[in-house]
Amino acid sequence: MALLAITVLGHDRPGIIADVTTALAQRDANVEDSSMTLLRGHFAWTLIVGTEASVEQVASDLAFLSSDDLVVSVLPVTDEQEEAAGPGSSFIVSVHGADRVGIVAAITGAIASYGGNVTDLQTRLGGGLYVVVAEVDFAEPMDTDVLAGRLRAVGQTVGVDVAVQAADQDVL
């Protein structure tokens, strides 16, 4: 079973997901992880699909979407192992401020420089307010206040406020 990464982007309408998954099911292609949202009103979906079919076959199955102002890409990907996080080292980083170029670059650059890996990210622009929420894992233990202090300092250089919370998960 090979894995394919499929992206579907473009003008939103009801039924896109149903149409895509029906075509994939007919090809016996299994949708594994996927994430869909609307980005400034545009339909945006990324899927990892397990299938015996070729890239060309799946691309051809989904070619009908192009008449709908949707751009589809199909690429082969390898099976990735997710890395373990260190204990007490997962955080939710929330950023907000007046919109300008370079906010995400500044904050994520700082996170990367401390060895942090972003595992989930949303950026939203509403009115003039820019909001970023990222989940970040560190391989080594990291103190919430230390991380918050460092990211707040970087945030000041681009005029944004930064808040950091430990991303606790409790097993019940």
Binding site: T37, E82, A84, A85, G86, P87, S90, T119, D120, Q122, E135, D137, A139, A167, D168, Q169, D170, V171, L172
Partner: protein, 178 residues
């Protein structure tokens, strides 16, 4: 505070069932708390919880038994305030729940995911003790309140993934290095 600790026979560790499994998705039956099999199940739930790292509670259907029984012990958890220790409750029913708060929770029966779930931070729950069948009502808060609701949800056939707050609220469970 109500004492919930009772004498039980030696418990046997049982296998924990993981989703998807029909027994996790159906409401459990009311049972007689004085029945010897129920008393043994109470002991087995505690024994199974004790050998499961990080486990603070277990519902009977998580070991494959569709009866309204759960065990709990949040005494070692840092988010615990009010704490009733290590106990088993039979035929539990939540009477009052208030002051919702969102937190990320995981479950032994859903080992690969966590989810953001709103739960009341204050609850009043009533039920019976195994063996004597004595009726007890407990009032609790914070992490014990969350854990009670999670276990009672199990007995109602609900998993945390049935209660997540949004489409973006299901996460891969983090695997921590020791």
């Amino acid at each position: 505070m109500t004492s919930l600790q009772v004498e039980l026979p030696a418990g046997v560790v049982r296998q924990v069932v993981t989703a998807p499994a029909a027994v996790l998705s159906a409401p459990c039956e009311q049972v007689d708390p004085t029945d010897a099999e129920v008393v043994q199940l109470a002991a087995d739930l505690l024994a199974t919880m004790d050998v499961s790292p990080g486990c603070v509670g277990l519902a009977a259907n998580q070991v494959g038994v569709p009866w309204r029984v759960f065990c709990l012990d949040v005494s070692a958890h840092p988010k615990t305030r009010t704490c009733h220790g290590r106990f088993v409750m039979v035929n539990p029913q939540i009477l009052q729940a208030s002051r919702n708060e969102k937190a990320r929770e995981g479950c032994m029966s859903v080992p690969d995911f966590t989810g953001d779930v709103k739960r009341a931070t204050r609850v009043v729950v009533t039920g019976q003790l195994p063996g004597s069948g004595e009726s007890v009502t407990l009032t609790t808060d914070a992490f014990e309140a969350r854990a009670v609701q999670h276990e009672v949800d199990h007995l109602d056939g609900l998993l945390f993934i049935d209660r997540v707050v949004s489409a973006a609220a299901i996460h891969k469970r983090k695997v921590y290095l020791d």
